[in-house]
Amino acid sequence: MEAAKVKEWMDSVVKPEQAQKYMRGEKDFIDEDYIEDILLTKIKPEKQEIRDIIAKAQELNRLDPEETAALLNCKDEDLWQEMYEAGLKIKQQVYGRRIVTFAPLYISNLCVNSCVYCGFRKDNRESVRKQLTMDELREEVKALIQQGHKRLIMVYGEHPSSDAGYIAETLKTVYDTKVGNGEIRRSNVNAAPMSIEDLRQLNEVGIGTFQVFQETYHHQTYKRLHPKGIKADYRWRLYAMHRAMEAEVDDVGIGALFGLYDWKFDVMGLLMHTIDLEKHFGGVGPHTISFPRMEPAVNTPYIEKNSYKVDDETFKRLVTVIRLSVPYTGMILTARENAAVRQEVIQVGCTQIDAGSNIAIGGYSENNPDHHKQQFILGDNRNLDEAIRDMASLGYITSFCTAGYRAGRTGHIFMDIAKQGKVNHLCMPNAILTFKEYLLDYASPETMIVGEGLIEKEMQALPSDALREKVSGMLKKIEAGERDLYV
């Protein structure tokens, strides 16, 4: 595409009036002085204060910023152990012993931005540029369906060739692709911030969750790391989810890339983001929170020399504090992390993981993890079947459930159910049903044995005989060949 046309498109993307609509005068909701002040004020929290905050989280109440700051500053190892246990309890109470599983599908890495830590940045000459055609996309989707996937997160660079119209077309293509019993039932999107009008286009074709990560909430650091391109506009990005909610994409996902700035500040940023969404949209905050850590990328030296790297122990702590701070929100732990870290961190309250992931563009159908077509390098390369078996050994049932989004349980309906701690009541039966489909259609013999045992155990744990009977009847129908049954 001609440079002049790209420039013209870039100049048309940001709608200043939409970026400013939710601001308080000249200020956005990230008040750095306030965040730094409470992190200092709560530098030495008392033991009892921490225990009171843990108790509040266990009652499924969102924490106030001062409370989250106190948890972040805790230095008592015994209290951290209590927090880890509380994180797991909260997760089990709200979401049950299940892990929702999806695959990332990278569609395009053409990008107009220059994020210094990203392998897809415009001036990275070693990155091989690629955008899937609809035929290539169908091949990728078929390869994913044949692994057993039902849920995707589709990822796009910011470029006129992957604008909202292209994204909408890719969503339609994904939903129209089927292989035997298999199909993708929910496609989430991770893309650049868009206008309300563009977001409505994605809503019309059945987008799942719309994800935009702020990367870092610290203004100056953000400016330094995003020197050029549309992404240099901090506030256009910061209010992307507000616009999505206004466009009635009522499941939105926020996130921060840990390792760009002080981890405590960015956890506070995620909380402030949640609070501002809840304030403007009738108590509905993010559907999911993601917390990727920075990973190496081809020809990206910044990653090696930056001083905010987060070690494994700190990572576990920050995930725990997010769990306690927003007890009812889904939390996504990606395959950026290696298998050992994932096995450990899942236990403090994560609800979703990706598995069998290949983040090279065209990588699933080519069965080739080409690092030159990747944004970063993955840490967990287990295939889906292995990951499912490992989850089962931890006592977690893998869920491919997409029922909520197809049964009107979106936005505030989902959030109300989550806040009452009742997602589990609907989702565990649906987890069992979708897991059964996976076992019958895709599992290895080893996973089949482990999985059937787990289903039996979870059937016994269902809260009533009536429900057990209902699910049992549905399992029989699945065994007889029916698919896509849900409560």
């Binding site: 809503n203 799942g208 936005g411």
Partner: protein, 99 residues
């Protein structure tokens, strides 16, 4: 009850129709818990209703190409009443299209 969705005050003619259908439906069956959805591809996007609990007996019915209803406690009314209720709702939505 219906106005739980962002911007519903400025809602479309269709959504106003849903609102009046809900009022009429709850006059006849005040015990029913319903949720209305706009159908967007695979997504049934919540637009209003009087139910926000996690119900296990929920049944969903497509009313036309754009809207659907989930009745969370459909077993609380008899099968014949439920069937005629859904037929009536579908007819109302079809009439609206023709009108």
């Amino acid at each position: 009850m219906m106005a739980q969705k962002i911007g519903l005050e400025e809602s479309s003619r269709d959504e106003q129709l849903l609102k009046s259908m809900q009022e009429s439906l709850l006059r006849d069956y005040p015990q029913l818990k319903v949720r209305w959805s706009r159908i967007l591809g695979r997504r049934w996007s919540h637009i209003g209703g009087n139910s926000c609990e996690a119900w296990l007996g929920s049944r969903q019915y497509q009313l036309n190409s754009e809207y659907g209803i989930c009745i969370d406690n459909a077993d609380d009314i008899c099968k014949e009443d439920l069937e005629s209720l859904i037929i009536q709702l579908r007819e109302n939505m079809a009439d609206e299209r023709q009108g």
